[in-house]
């Protein structure tokens, strides 16, 4: 029966090609706009390490100015720690893994014949790789002992290794970072979590770091956080040592706590430290020591922009109009063909059969619309991608990477097509099924 109804549907399409094309295009546009916005929204709102959502926590404490909160519009503590707090908390053995880190600028030279090059560098403790499930192509990360005293070891991203060594296994090769000799210990495989949850400064969808060096080099070479460093206290900071002892926040800390119990212990460890420091005059704001999981961290830092929420709402308003349009056209079309339906009814087709037959026709229409819509969405996303790519002058990474057409888009198109069939088809199919056949037979 289904095959027969489908054949009927296509015969009906041929009868009114103009109006059919109009409906297909309307459905296609509605689905395309929705698929486009949802693809970007999905990429933005994703949790790139969801499988560790109950284990990974960002560590923050509110050391800010007693009189002025860090954020104007929220009561959240600053997103980074002071050096001294990070050092103290890092000494705790409660977490299964722990990392303190920040981003800095560096220049790589002396790697084969490659010219010297500016690289985004992460100064981090050893657990970074294991904690964030970073995949290695060659070699590995360093052991904790290499952090202090700092060993001259470096890990390259795959992209950087491609640039410097043409993608060869470069483990053991020697290069210069800021004119100091480093030995390559590992090369990462492709790894670009989006959003870049572990460090949201410099754009939530910024490109990943190019190279990684042991944390101890920070103090040794006096490396600043080049992305986000904030100070509030009236204190003289003339030397790097002053900076290390200051109330400036610039250290990012994450811990991996496998259980609720370890989480509670970590929380009380932080609270204990906070109370002790408060007695000596620090931490004069209300107590706000936080362990924030990745999902909440992304929400707190407003990774999904309001603009994108707005666009999703707009897309559905547009789809609604397209579907209402289609309902109107379907009604007109079905009623126009009422005489044929009247004959079918007179020959014994039940209301239910008429209803299903027309619903199948709408389904076929939506399927065509969804297919065409996918084409439109693909073109639209390519257009948006091009817009961003040209503004970045061909640079990779960043927001443009969110505009890739993927399986999520196809899934959404299927869901939307089914939704569209039901939303647009139910009423017209029901109406046509209710028509008394006699009236239409008479006018013949």
């Amino acid at each position: 029966m289904f095959g027969y109804y489908t054949a009927l549907a296509f015969r009906s399409f041929r009868r009114n090609p103009g109006i059919t094309a109009l409906m297909v295009i309307a459905v296609a546009l509605g689905i395309a706009v929705c698929v486009m916005t949802l693809t970007v929204y999905h990429a933005m709102s994703g949790n790139p390490i969801w499988w560790k959502n109950d284990r990974l926590y960002a560590v923050t404490m509110d050391n800010w100015d007693p009189n002025v909160p860090f954020f104007q519009d929220s009561s959240l503590p600053p997103p980074e720690l002071t050096y001294k707090d990070a050092q103290y908390l890092f000494r705790s053995n409660i977490p299964e893994r722990k990392v303190v880190m920040y981003a800095t600028d560096g220049v790589i030279s002396g790697a084969g014949s490659s010219p010297a090059e500016h690289v985004k560098t992460r100064v981090t403790t050893a657990d970074f790789f294991a904690m964030f499930d970073v995949p290695f192509l060659y070699g590995s990360g360093w052991r904790g002992a290499a952090d202090d005293p700092a060993q001259p070891l470096i890990v390259l991203s795959r992209e950087e290794n491609d640039k410097l060594f043409g993608g060869a296994n470069s483990v053991g090769r020697v290069l210069r970072w800021n004119d100091h000799e480093f030995r390559v210990l590992g090369v990462l495989n492709d790894w670009a979590p989006r959003p870049r949850f572990y460090d949201l400064n410099g754009g939530s969808f910024g490109s990943p770091d190019a190279v990684y060096i042991p944390y101890g080099w920070g103090a040794e070479l006096e490396l600043f956080n080049d992305e986000e460093s904030d100070c509030w206290k009236s204190e003289k900071i003339d030397t790097f040592k002053d900076y290390l002892g200051s109330e400036c926040i610039w250290q990012q800390m994450w811990v991996e706590l496998p259980s609720r119990a370890s989480r509670n212990r970590m929380q009380s460890f932080m609270d204990g430290y906070w109370a002790e420091q408060r007695r000596s005059g620090r931490f004069q704001r209300p107590r706000d020591n936080r362990l924030t999981n990745v999902a909440d961290w992304l929400r707190d830092n407003q990774v999904v922009r309001n603009d994108n929420r707005l666009l999703v709402a707009l897309a559905f308003a547009f789809l609604a109009v397209c579907l209402i349009n289609t309902v109107g056209l379907l009604l007109a079309k079905f009623l126009n063909g009422a005489s044929v339906t009247g004959v079918r009814r007179a020959l014994g087709a039940s209301r239910r059969q008429i209803f299903i037959q027309h619903l199948v026709e709408v389904g076929a229409l939506s399927a065509l619309g969804a297919l065409l819509g996918l084409g439109f969405a693909w073109m639209g996303l390519a257009g948006v991608h091009h817009l961003y790519a040209s503004a970045h002058l061909g640079r990779h990474g960043g927001y443009q990477e969110l505009t890739h057409f993927d399986s999520v888009g196809i899934l959404w198109a299927i869901v939307l097509a089914i939704g569209a069939t039901l939303a647009a088809g139910l009423y017209p199919a029901w109406r046509i099924g209710r028509l008394p056949p006699a009236v239409y037979l008479k006018s013949q």
């Binding site: 109009l22 546009l29 009189n67 010219p115 004119d179 206290k233 030397t239 309001n306 707005l310 009604l331």
Partner: protein, 405 residues
């Protein structure tokens, strides 16, 4: 002349599904159209704010010294001397930051040493060519003198302030409302003092995304070599790109102890800062145009359907004396009634959506002019879309009435 609304309305109410559907489309379209256009215009106003900077003729060189023997001061001296002698260059300055790039440095300054520091203002380090290199206008006081330019801050005096600063007019008004800021003293975060010697207006600093991007002050100091330094170079109109190529070719070879990270027009950074606003505009406009087209087609299709299903009645009316324009008028009035119902609902919907946006997304409340404009546009579009079917209806011959199918 009467429009005969009563019979049209009663006919409409007898067969209302199609009309209700079109009215719903018109309503949603109006709500979206009005609010989307309002947002687009707001973004345009944001992007077009005056910067006080000669945007089109400036390019930025980022240079990073990296060897242990690299010396920042001689390197700055050498590069700048070379750049300033280039034909086509009006001025060049070293700078700690890139204007309009949404990256930079904010510092608190206050007017009395005991004041709470709760506001941060954008600090830009330049030399005596700084204002010239930006094309910024000094509206009071004087520029920095050559001897006032301090050397880069080093590893021992990283919190050093400088004795003279130039401020934006907006910042001057913030710090010293209704007073002459020239000669006034300000205090930095550890109460080191500086005197305001000049006022610039207009000027936008490094953070177009901030609430007050024009709260800016200039400090006469060479950038430290801790991070990459920027050279802002302003050229004569039309020569930016050729000078840029020359500069890149020379500087990337002139000193092996540093790398030239990038050489880009200032507009690159500005465009990047506004990229999201731009794409939002494009997206909103595209969807709005599509929306209007779909609604327009919907109106057209309904009118066409009405005409074709009423051919016999139209023929009968014509046969009993209705003129062609009576028929056209009938369909246009019918369309106007449907559109009006849609537009009325749409007004409520648009205001509701506008209110929701202002609460949820802190957008300013919808300007009512937009609503009036949107209503007129949709009305006009409705009439246009119904015009062709109405004309076709008028062409129905009275003889149709006498035929049976």
């Amino acid at each position: 002349m009467s429009l005969h609304v009563r019979p049209i309305l009663s006919a409409l109410l007898r067969n209302r599904t199609g009309a209700v559907l079109v009215a719903m489309q018109v309503a949603i379209t109006l709500a979206v159209l009005v609010n989307a256009l309002y947002i687009v215009v707001q973004r345009a106003q944001k992007i077009d704010r005056p910067t006080g900077i000669d945007l089109q003729n400036i390019f930025v060189i980022q240079s990073a010294g990296f060897t242990q023997r690299f010396q920042i001061s001689p390197s700055l001296q050498e590069d700048l001397t070379w750049l300033r002698e280039l034909p086509g260059v009006i001025a060049a300055t070293p700078s700690s930051v890139i204007p309009l790039s949404n990256g930079g440095n904010n510092e608190p300054i206050v007017t009395r040493p005991d004041l709470q520091r709760s506001e941060y203002y954008n600090e830009i380090n330049v030399d005596e060519h700084g204002l010239d290199a930006l094309g910024a206008h000094l509206v009071a006081g004087r520029n920095f003198r050559r001897e006032e330019i301090s050397p880069p801050r080093g590893k021992k005096d990283a919190s050093r302030f400088e004795p003279e600063i130039i401020v934006s007019r907006a910042l001057a008004e913030r710090l010293f409302p209704a007073q002459n800021p020239l000669g006034k003293t300000v205090y930095d975060f550890i109460n080191q003092t500086a005197t305001i010697i000049g006022v610039v207006d207009p000027i936008m600093g490094c953070f177009p995304s901030h609430e007050h991007p024009d709260w800016v002050f200039f400090v006469p100091r060479l950038p430290s070599g801790e991070a990459a330094v920027n050279y802002l170079v302003r050229t004569r109109p039309g020569q930016r790109d050729s000078v840029m190529r020359l500069a890149e070719a020379h500087l990337s070879k002139s000193n092996p102890d540093r790398v030239i990270d990038s050489v880009r027009p200032l507009t690159y950074y500005r465009n990047l800062s506004y990229l999201d606003d731009r794409s939002m505009q494009i997206y909103l406009l595209t969807v709005t145009v599509l929306l209007i087209s779909v609604t327009c087609l919907g109106i057209f299709a309904l009118a066409t359907f009405n005409v074709s299903s009423r051919t016999k009645q139209i023929g009968t009316r014509r046969a009993v004396g209705a003129r062609r324009r009576d028929i056209v008028r009938y369909f246009l009035v019918e369309n106007a009634l449907i559109t009006s119902a849609g537009v009325l609902t749409g007004c409520a919907l648009a205001l509701g959506a506008g209110y929701w946006l202002s609460v949820e997304y802190a957008l300013p409340r919808l300007d009512l002019y937009y609503l009036v404009g949107g209503v007129l546009v949709l009305w006009a579009i409705g009439q246009l879309a119904a015009w062709e079917p109405a004309r076709r209806a008028a062409a129905v011959s009275p003889s149709v009435a006498t035929r049976t199918v």
